[in-house]
């Protein structure tokens, strides 16, 4: 169908080593990749599959701690494996551009957006300093950024995450490159923001007929962006096909297992017995109001999902419930009794009965403590147990989270992401709590690992009767685990009720937007959504 001349990038048997545990390991084990002009290739896989490493290799770039060891990378006839640093510098930014996952980290905080947007264009001699500004403004407009004329005069910290991500795409576009490597560009964004960023990126790629490698672990997103999809695992290719075929009929069992995740659906169940009641809570950080008149109940042995985008007040609500932030008005009732507004006023029993699990298991554990110490501490603290009793209880807790005693003397650094989160769950369970607040506990994990954690939480609820307040921005997680849903927006509760009622129409406006923004795994979803949301707005 297409001739050899169309081929922009050809990688053959690429091998890359990574340095870990004092030695080099092969992390990309001979991958081939072909990209034609104007084509978008989706690279998907779990974390550690080598997606980003391969994406960077397409620029002839090995990130710190990695080295290219074999194969060839031909970009428009130039072998990037063997090209000099000067040759590669001339290509990067000018003909191959990169859009990073965290725009907030990839923009230099000390320089204005405009200067950064046009910098590589000027340096590469593609833009002239006198017309660079016009070019940038045109790109900001193409990316749908607010006030494109003056957008570039701001510093990175002065614009939102979604705007920054679009600004980065604008920057990548500045030299009209032939190839853009998008490395998880929307992973850090809220779903409602993601839709617009996806649309802007895809629009720009189409308009300038740019080829792209789109790296993501989100299958639904890749379905909107890519013409073809390549699945990677442990540094090896599993399979590659055009998007339609790949979604409909994946050949390999591993791909099918990726497709099958997120099939957990628990039917919502109610309960009249309320373990926790949040009553008219208003709270502020200093003088800045964050929560306004927030009320909801937590039925015993059930799961209440609190959903909303970042800044909606979800985590602040958790801080009020745990007593970290005393509310300015309203309060929290626990088992029918008022809880003291702040930590200092609460008894040890009150504290024990409400536990918390955090998003970042990494930072929630002391890296110098062993699993035995981490889980044993609450056992000693709340139940005054010692020696053999503690050990016995820790073993029992490890069994509950489907790990065994061989983990007892490991440090957090020696655990995988999913295992770390399991240890955090065990630590919360060690207090034998009635309510566990789970703050985005699966957001940092791969989908397959997420599923494991969700199943574990559901089984523990069935066995122990513990209630969950499940804070998340991910609707798929909500569908999977919740009984009741509380939708928050700008510090207020906009809708609450049983899961089935909230998730089926009619919806409140914000809930409708939130639900419609969650990408679905089918080609054309983005276009339909944009059309529908456009109609809704009009």
């Amino acid at each position: 169908m297409s001739s050899e001349a169309d081929i922009l990038l050809r990688m053959r048997d690429v091998r890359i080593d990574g340095f870990a545990d004092e030695q080099w390991h092969e992390i990309i084990k001979g991958v081939d990749l072909t990209l034609r002009k104007g084509e978008v290739l989706g690279l998907i896989g779990e974390s550690g599959a080598g997606k980003s490493t391969l994406g960077l290799a397409a620029m002839g770039f090995a990130r710190p701690g990695c080295r290219l060891t074999g194969g060839e990378i031909l970009f428009d006839g130039v072998d990037l494996m063997r090209a000099s640093e000067r040759q590669k510098q001339r290509l990067r930014g000018a003909r191959i551009a990169y859009v990073a996952q965290s725009a907030a980290a990839a923009f230099n905080p000390a320089h204005r957006l405009l200067d950064q947007t046009v910098e590589s264009g000027i340096r590469h001699g593609v833009l002239r300093p006198d017309n660079a500004r016009e070019t940038a403004v045109e790109l900001y407009r193409a990316m749908d950024l607010p006030d494109p004329e003056h957008f570039g005069d701001r510093f990175p910290h002065q614009v939102s995450g979604g705007q920054l991500q679009r600004a980065m795409t604008a920057m990548a576009m500045a030299c009209r490159p032939d190839l853009i490597v998008f490395d998880e560009p929307t992973t850090a964004l809220d779903v409602t923001t993601q839709v617009n960023v996806l649309a802007a990126m895809r629009g720009a790629v189409k308009r300038f007929d740019t080829a792209a490698i789109y790296i993501t672990h989100d299958l639904a997103v890749v379905a909107q962006m890519a013409d073809r999809i390549k699945v990677l695992r442990h540094g090896e290719e599993i399979e590659e096909a055009d998007t339609e075929t790949m979604l409909r009929a994946p050949k390999q069992p591993y791909t099918r297992s990726l497709w099958a995740v997120r099939s957990i659906r628990k039917p919502g169940e109610g309960s009249a017995d309320k373990v926790l009641e949040v009553r008219g809570v208003t709270a502020a950080y200093g003088t800045r109001p964050v929560l306004e008149d927030v009320s909801f109940d937590v039925p015993r042995g059930r799961t209440v999902a609190v959903v909303g985008e970042s800044g909606s007040g979800k985590s602040t609500a958790a801080r009020v419930i745990t007593g970290l932030l005393p509310p300015t008005d309203g309060g929290v009732r626990f088992n029918g009794q008022d809880l003291a507004p702040d930590l200092a006023g609460r008894s040890k029993e009150d504290l024990r009965r409400i536990q918390m699990i955090y998003q970042m298991a990494d930072t929630a554990m002391n890296p110098r403590q062993t699993v035995r110490e981490i889980i044993g501490r609450p056992v000693q603290f709340y139940f005054a147990k010692t020696g053999a009793e503690v050990d016995a209880r820790v073993s029992e807790l490890l069994q509950m989270i489907e790990l065994d005693d061989s983990f007892l003397d490991r440090l957090p650094g020696e655990l995988s992401g999913g295992q770390k989160q399991r240890i955090c769950i065990a630590r919360a369970l060690a207090a034998d709590p009635e309510v566990i607040i789970c703050d985005e506990v699966t957001s940092a994990l791969d989908q397959i690992v997420q599923d494991g954690i969700l199943k574990l939480l559901m089984r523990l609820q069935k066995d122990l009767g513990v209630s969950y307040i499940f804070i998340t921005h991910d609707i798929a997680t909500v569908r999977a685990i919740s009984d009741e849903i509380v939708v928050m927006y700008q510090g207020r509760v906009v809708e609450k009720g049983m899961k089935e009622d909230i998730l089926s129409p009619p919806h409140a406006d914000y809930t409708a937007l939130l639900l419609s923004s969650v990408p679905e795994m089918e080609v054309g979803w983005l276009d339909r959504t944009l059309a529908a949301q456009g109609d809704g707005a009009a």
Partner: protein
């Protein structure tokens, strides 16, 4: 920065200076030794004469009265008379100040122009020979006592090699009519390059001695923060933009890496004031530091009080200056 914020910051100086003056007053009053006795020394004088001297210096009054008198006068800019010189303290200090400022500035310049490039090179060539030498050097720099290092330099360059003078600011033959009182500038303004070189040869050893600990510390700070910044995503990203290495280092990395260096430099400039006392004594430098040391020995209360207050003011102003510089380097910070 808004004007209101600037005024607020300046008003914050008042309690600081008030606190400093109380502490200095109390400490100096508690220090054993009596200025009058020191002045009398071996001379034979009557008790009446001694009492007259005491009254003349205002030392016959009770301590609290002396304090409020000092404070009341100080607010009006009158810091009293130096016991020793019998002239207003302010005049005596003003006379000695240019020498100290000149020495401190040269020390600061030496520290900045050696420490920052060294720190950057050490960071870029981490674990190289340069890095190791710089690390050992900076350890020595902070550990070597100034008086010892100064004497060592003197013995080598002034006594053994005899290429640099032993003490003072300038030789007799090079003395000129002052304009700014900064000799390195005045000699040039008067068209006397020979005198300029003479002044330079006098200032070089004390300035190196004074600047050494600061150089060492700034080099470490620059190296550490440069390494930190080099690990940031935006530096990797700048490489992905195809920028040249020097542009990445100086435009993207260094501007961010200098933020901690600036604040440490401001604090360390304050500590140069303390270093001055030792260095000026070792090198016979006619500046404020040596004057203060001499004044402490003879319990010249008014001068010591005024000088310490001046030190405190300088210190606070330097930190204030660092805060302003901070906002220039780091747009995320507002005062």
């Amino acid at each position: 920065m808004s004007l209101a914020r600037l005024i607020e910051r300046l008003l914050q100086l008042i309690p600081v200076l008030l606190g400093v003056s109380v502490i200095v007053f109390v400490m100096i009053t508690l220090t054993p030794g009596d200025p009058v006795e020191i002045m009398i020394g071996d001379q034979n004088i009557t008790a009446e004469q001694e009492a007259a001297m005491r009254e003349d210096l205002g030392l016959d009054r009770p301590v609290h009265e002396r304090f409020f008198l000092f404070l009341g006068n100080a607010v009006q800019g009158d810091f009293g008379e130096s016991f020793y010189h019998r002239r207003p303290v302010i005049d005596v200090i003003a006379e000695r100040l240019p020498a100290t400022i000149e020495l401190s500035l040269v020390a600061l310049i030496i520290a900045l122009v050696t420490a920052i490039p060294l720190g950057v090179v050490a960071a870029i060539k981490k674990n190289s020979m340069t890095d190791r030498l710089a690390t050992v050097g900076s350890l020595l720099g902070v550990s070597l006592p100034g008086f010892w290092f100064g004497i060592l330099l003197l013995m080598l360059f002034a006594v053994q090699l005899q290429i640099l003078p032993v003490s003072g600011r300038i030789g007799f033959s090079s003395e000129i009519e002052p304009i700014t009182h900064f000799l390195l500038i005045d000699t040039l303004l008067r068209g006397r390059p020979d005198a300029f070189l003479d002044a330079l040869s006098h200032i070089i050893l004390p300035a190196i001695t004074l600047g050494l600990p600061m150089t060492a510390i700034l080099m470490r700070v620059t190296r550490t923060s440069m390494l930190e910044v080099m690990r940031q995503d935006y530096v990797t990203f700048a490489e992905a933009k195809g920028l040249r290495r020097n542009r990445i280092l100086f435009r993207h990395a260094l501007k961010n890496a200098l933020i901690p260096t600036v604040s440490v430099a401001a604090i360390e400039t304050g500590s140069l004031l303390g270093g001055n006392m030792i260095v000026e004594t070792v090198f016979g430098w006619p500046g404020l530091g040596r004057l203060v040391v001499e004044s402490i020995f003879v319990r010249n209360y008014p001068l010591v009080q005024a000088a310490v207050l001046f030190y405190a003011l300088t210190y606070v102003m330097l930190n204030f200056l660092a805060d302003i510089l901070y906002t220039v380097l780091n747009p995320r910070v507002k005062l």
